[in-house]
Point group: C7
Chain length 84, copies 7
């Protein structure tokens, strides 16, 4: 049930906290998109990803590996397994 | 009566607080639009949505599911049931 | 007399305070324009509107109803009854 | 003498303070221009204007009346009587 | 000798301090350029100019007179007598 | 194993800390790309690189050598040896 | 040896500190480029240059002389003697 999954999200950062160690989709300004394993984030929404891949039209454009993303350029972060 | 519905909105964030658990329409810069259930927000207007869908011309473009949206890119948030 | 109307505006936010409960015109960056009843604002100029309508060329483009607008995207706010 | 006119401007905001109650020309980003009577300003350079008019090519494009302008979008403010 | 002129510039704002009362060239974002007498500045690099002129291709486009410039839009400020 | 490599990344800046002295790929806004040895960074994500090279389409466009990069313009930083 | 030159750079600003009195290349947003002698900088990366020249395609476009540059518009600063 969906209700179980969103359990415990009282602040937006709780969602990121629950996504640690999982694959996330990160949309950046300027149409860049990454998928990767969320290792860490901070209050500026700076993010550390492992096994990051830059995506284009749903396909892997480039393997980046470990990556630090500045929060300033991020539009949204979504646990990738939820995408439909 | 409308007066009853807007009851209790003394600060703009009160409107978001009343919208928790409800479907909202979120307009982002760069013409992106999401609908989804508002789970949480913070003072930076970072937002956690459940069952988020990216919209285009009133139709669902993509199901995103659980999503963290950075407040920085948000133009407006509106309880979706109010749209006409 | 005009002098009576602007009475009491010592800080810019006084003008917004006097506009509460009244219809305002809000110009956003990127040529978006809203009219609606000003319910609330804060020091970031985040705004809650009731009965908001997105305008285009002086005509209603879309009824949005209750809306939270992020101050970051606002250019100006004007009591609509003053427009000529 | 010019020296007399600029008397007392030790900080940039002193110029705005001396312009209260006078007509000013305000240039916004994105080529918008307003003239109006400066009622009030704050440290963010948010501004309240009375009898504001949106200008285009030196002609009145629209009467806006009382207006709150967010400082964020302002490029310059100039006492209008000084323009040549 | 150049060494004498730059004497005493330990912080960037020292350069502006030494330019008070002198003609400066101010380059704004979006290709706007002003010359005028620097009356005052603050830590946000807000600036008050006297006898300001908007320039285009090295010619006076418009006399603006007394002007308040928001620091946010400024790229560089240069004592005009130094230009070559 | 990947698990060993990401050991110790609890905050995004830990990833940068582990990359000191190593070659990194830095993507800037506006499609600029640098590779170089990461000497230092601060909390604004300002970065000092040694032996920096501006890249274009995977080829060296210009040798810049020692360089200070303002964090404001950075999109992502990735240990170059991880790229695929 | 390179190792000697980068000695003592523990924070990014150390690189700027070591560049005082030397010629630097400064890349601004919007493709502006300056070379000049670095006189001073502050924590906002505001910079005072002496003998500044605006460059275009590696040639001097304009002599600006003493110049104050707002940090906000700076992409990178590099000791010019290091360029290749």
């Amino acid at each position: 049930m969906k209700t179980i999954m969103v359990n415990g999200i009282e602040r937006p950062l709780d969602l990121l906290n629950q996504s640690k160690g999982k694959e996330v989709l990160i949309q950046l300004k300027g149409d860049r998109q990454f998928v990767g394993t969320l290792l860490a984030f901070d209050m500026h929404i700076n993010v550390a990803l492992d096994n990051a891949k830059e995506m284009q039209d749903g396909e892997v454009k480039k393997n980046i590996g470990l990556t630090f993303l500045r929060g300033d350029t991020i539009i949204f972060i979504s646990p990738a397994s939820m995408s439909g």
